[in-house]
């Protein structure tokens, strides 16, 4: 049984001075942005340990976001599966319906402290866009959100939400018209307007210091969850499971447990199945060196590459062109992954797996029916993995799932996929 140490010194894996986790991360952007990243590093360094800034952020988390979010013991689901006790960290109950608000609010505060009056963001499913629009409304900042037109069509309610909140939503028509193209367009906007504009990246990715900043603002999830499970169950969980797109909810919950004897599991989007090539599982067949071990040139493979400002695993073709990914959940449908996850995988600390669209839909319906919780399709990937593992574990084992968001936004997708 895992030990029950109260508050171990959590070893924070800082990126090094070049912003690298091992060889991953860094800053690979046009020169125009390098001074802005330097400024951001300086500003964040100063504010990170500033008691006034921390207090302001914590106050908003408590009185506006609704933190701490609960930890729920999923008793009926656990009973149904007949194995481990499943606990759910309820980020779906945070304001705007997902963990994204933690990062958006933290960075909007940071932008305001830096004197930036204009905020830009990219969004895929719309959750980060809604969270950013929300934070900007709260803090009185101008907000522009870039979103691929394909995503705008499939996530229409979130487009409407962002506009209600006063944000300007700009459709992106380039490339695959999805998340990666929205990121490109946001970066181009930032290059052109860098003097007065702050770019809030929605996940633990992009050039340094973004992966670090996002991780810090999301690490509240893990700190709360650790305290809550110790209170409720009297001990640490055996395993923690979180979905990984860019990886912000996962890095947020893993952070507090890195030094604990707790197995950490990240779940990527398996799409139609790894063998079909239509997925977003960067770790599934990743080969660490360029050009190595690629079997079928027509299928996307993950290799170490540089994408949207960072060195990381990138799904791409043999020629280094970025692959178009597939997932039933827009929020996991992305060719790259946060650099710290690559480091955690290569160090062996975190295990990564994937769940297919079908397994995800099954998990979605199961959680609805057994717990009265409609999860986001992103989070349903983590639930699917928990459902696979729990029956093989003993009844006194504990599985903690980060339920990163709620599924209202996904109802159309689920209806179109048919009832399971």
């Amino acid at each position: 049984m895992p030990n029950q140490a109260e508050a171990p010194e959590t070893e924070i894996i800082l990126p090094d001075q070049d912003g690298k986790f091992g060889i991953y991360g860094g800053r690979y952007v046009p020169e125009t942005l390098m001074p802005a990243l330097d400024d951001l590093i300086d500003a964040y360094e100063e504010l990170r340990d500033d008691p006034g800034f921390r207090a302001e952020f914590d106050h908003l988390l408590a009185t506006y976001v609704g933190r701490p979010t609960p930890l729920s013991h999923a008793k009926r689901l656990s009973e149904h599966l007949g194995g481990a006790q499943i606990y759910l960290k309820r980020e779906d109950l945070a304001h705007t319906g997902a963990h994204k608000i933690n990062n958006a609010l933290g960075q909007a505060l940071l932008a305001k402290r830096m004197g930036k009056q204009r905020i830009i963001a990219e969004t895929g499913a719309g959750q980060h866009g809604v969270a950013t629009a929300t934070a900007c409304a709260l803090l009185g900042l101008k907000c522009v959100v870039y979103m691929g037109t394909v995503d705008m069509a499939r996530q229409e309610p979130n487009v409407f939400r962002m506009r209600l909140l006063g944000a300007e939503v700009r459709g992106v028509e380039t490339g695959s018209k999805t998340l990666k193209d929205a990121v490109n367009e946001a970066i181009r906007d930032w290059v052109a307007n860098v003097q007065d504009t702050y770019y809030i990246i929605g996940s633990a990715l992009g050039p340094h210091p973004y992966p670090l900043i996002c991780r810090d603002f999301q690490s509240v999830i893990g700190r709360e969850a650790r305290e809550q499970i110790l209170t409720q169950a009297g001990r640490l969980p055996d395993e923690i499971i979180a979905c990984v797109g860019g990886g912000s909810n996962a890095i947020g919950i893993f952070q507090a447990f890195l030094n604990d004897p707790v197995k950490l599991v990240g779940v990527e989007a398996g799409g139609y199945g790894i063998e079909t090539g239509k997925h977003a599982a960067r770790f599934a067949e990743a080969t660490p060196s360029a050009g190595a071990g690629v079997s079928d040139a027509n299928l996307p493979h993950a290799r170490v590459g540089v994408f949207q400002g960072m060195k990381t695993y990138v799904l791409q073709n043999d020629d280094g062109q970025i692959a178009e990914t597939h997932s039933i959940s827009a929020g996991l449908d992305y060719a790259g992954v946060g650099p710290e996850h690559v480091y955690l995988r290569e160090s062996g600390r975190v295990e990564y797996t994937s769940a297919t669209d079908d397994a995800t839909l099954h998990a979605f319906h199961t959680l609805c029916q057994y717990e009265g919780i409609i999860p986001a399709l992103e989070s349903s990937h983590a639930v699917a993995e928990a459902m696979r593992r729990a029956p093989e574990m003993s009844k006194d084992a504990i599985l903690l799932v980060n339920l990163s968001g709620r599924g209202d936004k996904d109802l159309n997708t689920v209806l179109n996929a048919g009832k399971h």
Partner: protein, 268 residues
Amino acid sequence: MGLKDIQIAFEQARSESRPAFMPYWPLGYPDQETSLRVIEALVAAGVDMIEVGVPFSDPLADGPVIQRASQIALEHGISVQGCIDLVRSLRDKGIKTPMLAMGYLNPLLAYGEERYVSAWQAAGADGLIIPDLPPEESADIRAYCAKKDIALVQFTSPTSPAKRLALGASYATGFVYVVSVTGVTGVRDNLAAGLRDYVERVKAQANGKPVAVGFGISKPEHVREIGQYADGVIIGAALIRAAGDAPDPAQAAYDFARSMMAPVRSAT
């Protein structure tokens, strides 16, 4: 070949009291055959150097014109190896004009860093331009380029403070690429305010290395003005806009290059 030819091209232009003229064209755009003819036409027009683009799916330093051209080239099947082979075929035809390959980092990494540098050099390229490789991350590629005696150009931006201008200038080989605007590539009607002062700030750090101005330049009068204080002018999007969709892209590229160079050259 290599670094030396780039130096000679700048010296030649300097001796004629004019800026070196350097157009950009994406290899494989709109298709491989046409891109070859366009480049040959630019050579016939008498340009000093050519930046050949290596198309990438996600060119984040580029505006809509070059994005679209890259996408069309990729849809028509261009690859990194295809780009290298095109340059080789130009050299096989006897074209001597210095050529620099401009491409993003990910295709380079997929090809293999050292292999990429060697293959370009062997094909006859004289330098590399990598817009998403900041000086801080350039050590390996810089060393490979130095070994093969080809240039690795570095960028400066209007947002760069003095210490970054110095960093870029000190690492640059071939020339310093002065990004004229705070923004991505693309046609602008006017030159950025304060461009001359900014170019002078770069030159103060460049230790005699040539400085060439690019991004947004679209008119002969821009070329004339920049020629008064910089060593070279780079034009991409305006050329693509003028020639890419023309009935005869090669002829249109020739005419465009001649018109842009006209104010700074005596008639030949």
